[in-house]
């Protein structure tokens, strides 16, 4: 793919498109937006493939981040437009909050985790892995100190690592 091989790109699409589409759905919640975001994301992946450096990280991680960022940009743009429409800049944040509160996490992955993780860690996982929030945004959103978010994120990773059997 890095050398402009479209066949390799198609294979990568087959391998990862469902997972990446799921990521888009988690953040954007509507099929149309998720579709647009996934297309935009894959075009970026194609465009930037020559810049991908395997010595610095894993391909799939790199791809997830490209797609996530595309979704988050779209999400923010949409919220901004809506808030402009109602002429109230100050509602951007609360709109974001209201929107994210309504997200229903109903994926198998998270359900299976309920026995493993404390509720407070599941909440962190939701924000960091499903909604695409940064640690700071998560802290702001949940009204928690950043340090608490960091600690919970680390505990969650430790548990997830065991859960996924990553050694």
């Amino acid at each position: 793919m890095q050398l402009g091989d479209k066949q390799a790109f198609a294979q990568i699409y087959d391998l990862y498109s469902d997972a990446l589409y799921g990521v888009c759905m988690s953040i954007l919640q509507t099929e149309d937006e998720a579709k647009d975001a996934l297309q935009e994301g894959f075009v970026k992946i194609w465009k930037n493939a020559p810049k991908f450096d395997a010595s610095k990280g894993r391909l799939f991680t790199w791809m997830i981040n490209i797609v996530r960022n595309t979704c988050i940009d779209k999400y923010r743009k949409k919220r901004k437009q809506q808030s402009h429409e109602i002429q109230k800049e100050s509602t951007i944040v609360s709109n974001m909050n209201a929107g994210s509160d309504s997200i229903k996490i109903n994926h198998i992955g998270i359900k299976d985790l309920t026995g493993r993780l404390e509720d407070e860690q599941i909440e962190i996982v939701e924000y960091l892995y499903y909604k695409g929030y940064t640690q700071q945004e998560t802290a702001d959103e949940l009204n928690l100190p950043l340090g608490t978010v960091k600690t919970r994120a680390r505990i969650a990773i430790r548990e997830l690592r065991k859960y996924f059997d990553i050694t």
Partner: protein, 289 residues
């Protein structure tokens, strides 16, 4: 450097989640190159990140694949062409250019790496200064400084190694200039009974009135002895002087006096400082012109 603390700071999670500044990004990449523990942690956290994405899997709309494949038809990959072209050019340079350019290149790469590391560490120091207490900070600083010192020393070593290579290269080039002159006459001087394996070569350029001798195969002498070169002109030995051979050097082409009408050349082993007349039983090589 306290790797556990670095990992516990959560910067690697933030890196994997794309939640870092460009400076922090560079720093994590740098640190994971230096410390295998950090690289392992980075891989582990990436795998969790990937598994979590897989857990969200939903079938993408089937029409999307064709849309995307046709969309990329009209999109050029960023700088692919220039990258390929550049590496081709570089390969050509390797073939055509002098070796010293290559050596300078990797030296330059080492210097840049060192700079990046130092920038990364400085950034790390700055970013941590708010969080850590003074003792830990001092200790971390000390460890970084030691690491920096080690790297600086390494760079110094590389530099001096490079200088050595360059000097050798210059010598070799000069030798090549001498030896590739079409006017050059070569006289092979073969070992005598004293040492049949000994060998020397005289290179005489009558046009330029210059003479060189290659003594590479001669053994090192005790300090109280010297090699002395003689020319035989009209049947008589003419003193061409003591050969000041630098045995440690890669190059062994010595500049000697030019002499006309020599029928033969010989080297004898004489007491240190040389003799007025050759000690024939100590003649080690002899060659007729």
């Amino acid at each position: 450097m306290n790797i556990e603390e670095y990992i516990a700071s959560g910067i690697i999670e933030r890196y994997v989640h794309g939640d870092v500044s460009p400076q922090e990004k560079q720093e994590v990449e740098c640190m994971s190159h230096i410390y295998p523990e950090i690289k392992d942690e980075l891989d582990m956290i990436s795998m969790v990140f990937e598994k979590m994405a897989e857990a969200q899997r939903q079938p993408a709309p089937s029409s999307l694949k064709a849309d995307i494949l046709s969309a990329i038809d009209s999109v050029d990959q960023e700088s692919t062409l220039s990258i390929v072209k550049e590496s081709d050019d570089k390969r050509n340079q390797l073939v055509t250019k002098e070796n010293n350019t290559n050596r300078n290149n990797w030296l330059r790469i080492a210097a840049v790496a060192l700079l990046l590391i130092s920038a990364g560490l400085t950034a790390l120091l700055l970013s941590q200064s708010g969080e850590d207490n003074a003792d830990e900070l001092a200790e971390t600083k000390k460890e970084y400084r030691e690491r920096m010192d080690a790297l600086s020393k390494e760079l110094q070593d590389l530099k001096s190694q490079n200088d050595t290579y360059l000097a050798e290269l210059e010598l070799n080039k000069a030798e090549l200039d001498i030896l590739s002159d079409p006017q050059l006459n070569v006289t092979r001087m073969k070992g005598t009974d004293l040492d049949p394996s000994a060998l020397a070569s005289m290179y005489i350029n009558p046009e330029k009135k210059s003479a060189y001798i290659d003594t590479r195969s001669l053994n090192k002498l005790d300090p109280e002895k010297s090699y002395q070169l003689w020319a035989i002109v009209d049947g008589k030995p003419v003193d061409m002087g003591i050969l000041d051979i630098a045995f440690e050097q890669a190059s062994a082409l010595l500049n000697v006096d030019f002499i006309e009408n020599a029928q033969a050349f010989a080297i004898t082993i004489e007491p240190s400082g040389g003799s007025e007349n050759p000690t024939l039983e100590q003649m080690i090589v002899l060659g007729e012109v």
